[in-house]
Amino acid sequence: MSEPETKKSEYLVEVKDLKEWFPVKTGWFHTTPLKAVDGVSFNIKAGETLGLVGESGCGKTTVGRTLLRLYEPTGGEFYFNGELVTEKNIHPLRKQMQMVFQDPYSSLNPRMTVEDIIGEPLDIHHLYSSRQERHDKIMHLMELVGLNAEHATRYAHEFSGGQRQRIGIARALAVDPKFIVCDEPVSALDVSIQAQVINMFEELQEKLGVAYLFIAHDLLVVRHISKRVAVMYLGRIVEIADTDDLYDHPIHPYTLSLLSAVPIPDPKTARASKRIILEGDVPSPLHMPSGCPFRTRCRYATEQCAKEAPALKDRGGNHFVACWNK
């Protein structure tokens, strides 16, 4: 990575007010926007990891997919390396942005050999001049993620979940990207395998200097791997801070309850600790509550919360919280 830093920005990834609304048919002629992502902003420095947590359906995955233009964003801007990403310049930029998917069983084509799966990004971007070079690159990638060379001619269904995820990671690394969106890459794996894969992600970051957007709902995994963590609720980021700061001094009531839900291995400590149990269900993103989206389940909610949505405000030490009352 010896390219000269020509752009003034210190961040590799800058996302400003990203919006992704899906039209949902609610009647014969009516469509209501489903606000999966509603104004999300964050930055990631080169070689760093931002963890993105939140419960199911809060829009984490949609953020990742919208960044890679798998969905056309409804609004907002995404700067990559200081360059505004648009539909026109996305194709060359795909060489620098890749994605690792959640389900290692459905993210690999069952009719392709491992060699072809890993080589596909190379094929698409014409990154080799001879068959030999392609083969060598693939072998190098397989070694990098800890796969045997003899696995190259096999099919994905012949591997275990952890090995499949390694194949997926090798595929993402094939184009030598600077930024990888990891969409719950370990949640489908066995706990012991999770540790291996997580450690591999860290090793690869050290070796190759890639930045991750690490999407997960396992808070401990995110704490382990991330430098900064963002908490999402109903399409918005409610709190974003450096990892230790967020885990040790959470401010937003949603983050508090989320952290109190983390299972504690020791039963004695677990009994002693007080859990904050949220009441009610997550509101439907089709009928979002007015003002702050969390107010329907928040114990501190006031009238102001119903009127106006709070913006992310710096509470010191790069700790941003979107709440009126805390």
Partner: protein
């Protein structure tokens, strides 16, 4: 992982019912190797073929078809009669050779053989009312049926797959419009269209100079066109439905995130995964097309005379059914054999290649 082995085994509590960990010994490198051996790598196709070969009905049908195809290809070289040739003895038309039973000789042929002491090639299936060798006519009828079956299913395969793939992949409005066209075509009565087209072609076009098609006649041309126009809709629907499902898989999304083009995604990711459906549909389309050709020929809309087809042979045999039953039995039996064999193979292919039926 290797450092785990250096941990000493925990001591067993004297009252514990657990097996004493000290009894365990470490696996040697050779023993560890045994777990490394993976099963022989199989591809989807190899796996399917293996299951297909295990199905006795499929294997039997396959050999029946091989024998039929061999007869179809080589019989005209061996048998000295042609399908339109009236039997002659010493250059004179043999009027007594009409409606002979299988392996029967006419009086003139018998006299000829006695006179010269030679054997005339036997009429394996007898002769028809115009003194033509029936066996060779049935063989040519089978040729026509195969030709129709294979051409029709190829046309259905190509048109249906491309149409269905485009409709299923792009979805949305494209899919809506393309599928409404399919619905319209689905509602057209095929028989009526064939009759109309053959009337139109008979009046306007002359195919007699075109090599193979000219012999088959205008009815056949209109039949092929109808197959091309109407019969692909089933295939298109099937492929579209399959693609709608495959499209949801994350590997398609992964390919998109890598920047793969639409055609690459269809070619590399979607079509290979609905190959089983396409193969099965094609295999089942062949007997359907053969059957259609037979019944069209039976009602007089098939191949042009004197070219025989199994359907027209059966139709001609209807009038003399009580006196010469074998003339109906032979073409009917070959239709049954062909259609049954293709159907059984098609079914076996579905069982072998459909991953959802895998146990």
């Amino acid at each position: 992982m290797s450092e785990n082995y250096s941990i000493p085994a925990p001591k067993k509590h004297p009252l514990s019912l657990q097996i004493d960990p000290a009894l365990f010994e470490k696996a040697t490198d050779e023993e560890k190797k045994q777990t490394d051996v993976m099963a022989e790598s199989t591809t989807f196709f190899k796996d399917g073929m293996r299951r297909l070969r295990k199905n006795p009905l499929a294997v039997f049908s396959f050999w029946v078809l091989v024998v039929l195809i061999m007869i179809m290809l080589f019989a005209p070289m061996v048998v000295p009669y042609s399908y339109e040739e009236i039997i002659t003895v010493e250059g004179v038309r043999d009027k007594g050779a009409a409606n002979l039973a299988p392996f029967q000789y006419s009086a003139k042929e018998q006299a000829y053989m006695d006179k010269y002491g030679v054997r005339i090639f036997p009429h394996i299936m007898g002769t028809d009312e115009l003194c033509r060798d029936y066996f060779i006519r049935v063989v040519y009828g089978t040729r026509v049926s195969f030709l129709v079956g294979i051409f029709a299913s190829l046309m259905v395969l190509v048109i249906g797959t491309i149409y269905g793939a485009i409709s299923g992949y792009f979805g949305g409005k494209v899919d809506l419009i393309m599928m409404r066209i399919v619905d319209i075509i689905y509602s057209l009565p095929d028989l009526l269209v064939i009759i109309l087209l053959s009337v139109v072609f008979k009046e306007t076009m002359d195919f007699s100079s075109v090599p193979v098609v000219g012999k088959l006649g205008t009815n056949m041309v209109s039949m092929f066109i109808v197959f091309g126009l109407l019969y692909w809709v089933g295939m298109a629907r099937m492929v579209r439905g399959e693609i709608m499902g495959i499209k949801q898989n994350e590997y398609v999304l992964a390919a998109k995130s890598m920047g793969a083009s639409g055609s690459r995604i269809i070619r590399r990711h979607i079509l290979p995964n609905c190959l089983s459906v396409i193969i099965i549909m094609t295999a089942q389309e062949i007997p359907a097309a053969i059957f259609t050709e037979s019944y069209l020929s039976f009602i007089g809309l098939g191949v042009a005379l004197p070219m025989p087809s199994l359907g027209s042979l059966a139709n001609a045999a209807r009038s003399g059914m009580q006196s010469y039953p074998w003339k109906l039995v032979f073409p009917a039996a070959s239709i049954v054999l062909i259609v049954l064999a293709f159907n059984l193979i098609g079914d076996a292919m579905r069982d072998a290649f459909d991953p959802k039926l895998k146990n």
